[in-house]
Symmetry: C2
Subunit: 213 residues, 2 copies
DNA sequence: TTTCATTTGTGAACATTTTAACAAACTTGA
DNA sequence: TCAAGTTTGTTAAAATGTTCACAAATGAAA
């Protein structure tokens, strides 16, 4: 029941991303194929659910054998669109921004931090993990020149929305935002938001009510 | 249609957490009540959905008027279990751990970082944002003495699972884990996991396929 | 080659979640 | 006090997501 990528349920895409993460690890070992049962044990997803997710993107498994890991990885990465390197920028090099610059696995996940920007003069010019922090005013020329479409925002909550507006106006299309607020973007732009604290609040709820998920 | 808390759909709980975040901001302004229509505009959730979520936890709205913000906040916080201060520890004071210690809004969200632990001698003894970093070996006595039930883990991916095992064995019940791996916990323990990179991968997919959510 | 044990892909049943619609309840202002 | 306007809580229908169960396909062993 192969569908066009845009018709794959969002929730299946989210699981595909999870499968990929686990497959990447498997592919470093001496295993070359994996069954939905085994992948299910690794990911905590029911095998039938995995097979259905994978059926949306084509038929890549062999009965009695399972899925070839490398082939499956390639297919998932193609569907998600991370089969080629994604170059992104980081705006706001504070606590979170600096942690992101120091993250070691960007390349393994298919990303490259092409540039980092902060308006604080004390941060400008610093080189963190090989990435130079530039002045905030350089961001628009930079992304235009480098053809960057995605920005990660780790700016103070109060200024994040206006920063998004400014970047969207300058042609930025995707925003990954760490501020715990609901962000508006103009048409043709897309935003993903994480609130790093919400899952902790959910954990408190689960603990209190003994909910195992 | 009031249910026991444990029967409120998980997805409604997640939205309650979102509502709370927005209500907290509203409560700082001069507004005292809010309708599902207005809250819907703020949160990007359809009003009917909001009313249904709230109906699971009781009837707190007045027709023709809306919901009293303070009352609603109290109810949501009671349901989630964050009506009293939650004391947690941070294990692993690297990039993420340090960012967490520096986060300014813990108190506003109902949390307190009661302690921080790292095994690196260079970090031990440092005081970050008023929180002393202790040696890793002190963690079990500390949590026993202080009655801490929840740990935030920002340790290197390779050691996170074993750290969870150790803490679970020592009586820790809830784990909030930043390593991008699936974590196993013994019965009676609960884990929430975030992979800070996955949402970015999802953003790439949405951008490629023009999916507005 | 044949048999046996696996495992896929999928249709159908089941479960959950969202949405629309509206009577009833409340506020406001005349 | 009453009428007009607003907004809730709830029902039922629609939409979406999960799980089951099994025929068909394949690999592996004899
Ligand atoms: N630190 C955490 O653990 C944590 C946890 C949850 C959420 N958050 C959220 O993440 C966001 C970032 O948090 P943080 O702790 O890294 O903040 P931070 O204050 O440490 O860093 C913000 C950085 O943005 C820079 N900045 C300010 N205005 C700018 C501009 N116009 N252009 C470019 N850079 C600018 C500042 O100079 C600073 O370096 C905040 O919205 C915060 O609420 C952080
Ligand atoms: N940095 C990021 O932006 C980022 C992004 C995505 C995911 N993550 C994940 O978050 C986790 C933490 O990342 P990080 O960048 O903060 O790592 P980090 O290496 O900067 O910090 C890890 C800290 O844990 C300490 N540690 C090691 N063993 C310990 C032990 N047994 N007990 C206590 N402390 C111990 C180390 O001394 C170090 O200070 C990793 O799993 C990483 O993959 C980080």
């Amino acid at each position: 029941m192969k569908r066009k990528p845009s018709e794959v349920p969002h929730i299946s895409i989210e699981r595909l991303i999870l499968y990929r993460r686990c497959l990447l690890k498997l592919s470093c070992s001496e295993v070359f194929h994996v069954s939905s049962a085994v992948l299910g044990r690794i990911t905590n997803v029911k095998p039938a659910n995995i097979r259905k997710d994978l059926s949306y993107v084509g038929e890549y498994g062999k009965p009695g054998y399972g899925y070839e890991i490398d082939k499956l990885l390639a297919v998932i990465e193609k569907i998600i669109g991370i089969n080629k390197l994604q170059r992104v920028i980081v705006v706001g090099v504070g606590n979170i921004g600096e942690a992101l610059l120091c993250y070691q696995d960007w390349a393994a996940r298919g990303f490259e931090i092409a540039g980092a920007f902060d308006k604080d003069r004390r941060k400008m010019g610093r080189v963190i993990n090989g990435i130079e922090v530039r002045g905030d005013s350089e961001v628009l020329p930079f992304v235009k020149k480098e053809g960057i479409e995605i920005a990660i925002l780790a700016t103070p909550t109060e200024i994040t929305q206006s920063k998004v507006n400014e970047l969207a106006h300058g042609g930025m299309r995707g925003f990954y935002v760490f501020s715990p607020i609901v962000i508006d973007v103009p048409g043709g732009c897309y935003v993903e938001n994480i609130d790093m604290i919400s899952p902790l609040e959910f954990l408190v709820y689960r603990l209190k009510n003994k909910i195992s998920k």
